[in-house]
């Protein structure tokens, strides 16, 4: 969430730049989808991670795929890359709700009379939204939206969909950030290096399991791979009780903390990692409430 001018789109566009390079197999997978969609142009192979940002007026068919002989939709074109939905509440409610299944399955099945078509859809969902329809709340010098209106604006996105976001942050307006002359910022190249390392750590950790990433951990495997020491456990429990977290949010926080620790190259999850994960936790609809 962020007010206009805080560079949400710019930020989203740069996500593929910190993701690991595509393997040959991944390039092939993506190229297949693009060729079915008739989007291959002259190139032999697609070698960079896709970044798709459909406009909020997009139809459900164009988003998830379809047509007489079904064509892959935006979610498949974003396979192994980023699907960026700017102004999330402006999308048709049923259009975004259909994302829930593909997000779970990493693929989409389009049923037709005589056959059904299955396309991969393993995308990273990135969305941006304003805090209200004018975009400036809580700056009351610019925002005149009614308290109710503000509550309703967020309410356009269902809680089950909100729950699927691992990381959620509210960005500040640009002019404030400009003032910030803090410690040296990490470059995309450095970040990409850390991401690649974290990924290697995860591949190694899960070699006996049928999974590759922290995000795929089940509540049972969380116990095994995300062991918390007493101090960390009690911090998380306190947060769980005082912040009224759901069981789903609880597990999500541990998985995100595991990833933050991996990026930090720390085998142990510390209170610092847990605090950060809690800070990123998904908003809930009570958020604008009292």
């Amino acid at each position: 969430m962020a007010p206009p001018g805080s560079g949400k789109t710019m930020l989203a566009k740069r996500i593929p730049s910190i993701m690991p390079d595509l393997s040959f197999e991944e390039s092939m997978e993506i190229s297949k989808i693009y060729s079915i969609a008739g989007l291959m142009d002259q190139q032999a192979l697609i070698s960079i991670r896709p970044f798709r940002s459909p406009h909020h007026t997009i139809t459900t068919t164009a988003l998830i795929g379809g047509g007489g002989i079904p064509k892959p939709g935006e979610i498949s074109l974003a396979h192994l890359g980023v699907l960026f939905l700017d102004e999330l509440p402006e999308f048709q409610k049923n259009t975004i709700e259909v994302l829930r299944q593909p997000l779970e399955d990493k693929s989409v099945t389009i049923a037709r009379l005589n056959a059904s078509y299955k396309y991969p859809a393993g995308f990273m969902l990135v969305s941006a939204m304003n805090p209200c329809s004018c975009g400036y709340y809580p700056d009351r010098n610019r925002c005149n939206c009614s308290v109710n209106h503000i509550k309703r604006y967020l309410g356009r996105i269902s809680q089950p969909l909100l729950d699927r976001f691992d990381i959620c942050i509210e960005a500040l307006q640009m002019n404030y950030k400009d003032l910030q002359v803090q410690e040296k910022q990490e470059s995309s190249e450095e970040i990409r290096h850390r991401v690649a390392q974290a990924r290697r750590i995860q591949l190694e950790r899960y070699q006996d399991q049928n999974i590759y990433f922290n995000s795929q951990l089940s509540p049972r495997t969380i116990k095994k791979y995300c062991k918390l020491d007493e101090k960390e456990q009690s911090l998380l429990e306190e947060a769980f009780n005082k912040m009224n977290l759901s069981a789903r949010a609880y597990h999500r926080i541990i998985k995100v903390a595991r990833t933050i620790a991996d990026l930090d190259q720390s085998e142990r999850i510390t209170t610092k990692h847990i605090s950060e994960a809690i800070c990123y936790r998904s908003i809930d609809q009570k958020y604008w409430g009292e």
């Binding site: 969430m1 805090p131 809580p138 009351r140 010098n141 005149n144 939206c145 009614s146 308290v147 109710n148 959620c168 942050i169 509210e170 500040l172 404030y176 950030k177 003032l179 910030q180 803090q182 410690e183 911090l235 306190e238 947060a239 005082k242 209170t271 610092k272 605090s275 950060e276 809690i278 800070c279 908003i283 958020y287 604008w288 009292e290």
Partner: protein
Amino acid sequence: MDQMEYRYWLANLPNIGVKKIERLLDIYGNSENIFRSTNEELYALKKEGAFAEHMSEKDLETITQQRDIDMIHRNYTKLINNGIYFVSREEDDYPEKLRNIFGAPYALYVKGRLPRKQDKLIAIVGARECSPYGKEMAKYLAGAIAKEGIMVISGLARGIDSYAHQGALTVGGGTYAIMGCGIDNCYPRENINLYMEMQKEGGIISEYAPGIQPLAGNFPMRNRIISGLSDGILIIEAKEKSGSLITVDYGLEQGKEIYALPGRATDHLSEGCNNLIKMGAKMVTSPKDILEDLLPQYVENADQSGHGNIVLSAKQYKVYSCVNADPKHIEEISLLTQLPMEQLMEQLLELELRGLIRQTLKNFYCKEL
């Protein structure tokens, strides 16, 4: 007919408002006598000029024609059965403070109970579209005042009004809402919980009978009741030309103390308040500023923050001392404290879990007041 039923009748004559009723009472002494007046009498009085220009012939007709005893009885009984208490100026129960104001309503409908003579009330009003700062301060000040046994009175509107009622209820205090529509109509609808809850330790009051819709014209009028019943009016946030200032005008006319919460010179929502302070309203930066006026024996508790003696690490203190009632974004805090984000997040979480700070919006932190 019961005495109360005559009064109920008088209060519900169409197009016979406060001024006309006042004049009639001057002449006839009570509602029963008005009910028994004859056509000839009324016309003779009008001819003499006893009503000035107030009363039309149609009004006189209304008074003599609308006397269906059965219907009056039925409606009044229904009111009582619905748990609505009706009180007119002809009873001692009618609030003394209200009796003397200009344009005092002839009758009131009440759910819950009326303020007692010894009760002290503070009106808290302000912008509907308030800022998070206004919201936090309204809740905090209302709570701190209500904790000392002072009732909070407001208009149940969105924004500041609602937060003031809420603040009082949270500490188990009493609070009153004055409605601009029929007493049975919870407007706005989303405040139904407040509407129900406040009837336990306070009440809902309206000069409008059940069934009357919230008309824009009613709202300025109900502000004179909010002001009239109060012992002082606190404005939390108001733009330069805000409706809340109507309540202040009534307050000044009725000789009430005006309190205002100051804000930054650059915030439009504080212009109204800052102007009031310039013009002599008492600036409120702590509940003490109001309490010391209302409770002569009031001594500020050494521990106003309610947090007791807290021990903070140097880092925590750094973070804690830069948050206040106006929510700050995490990046702003990082800039002010010069703490890197990951360390800051850890400190913020700890302060939040200790109940010292709170996220009012995602990643915006304010002090738990």
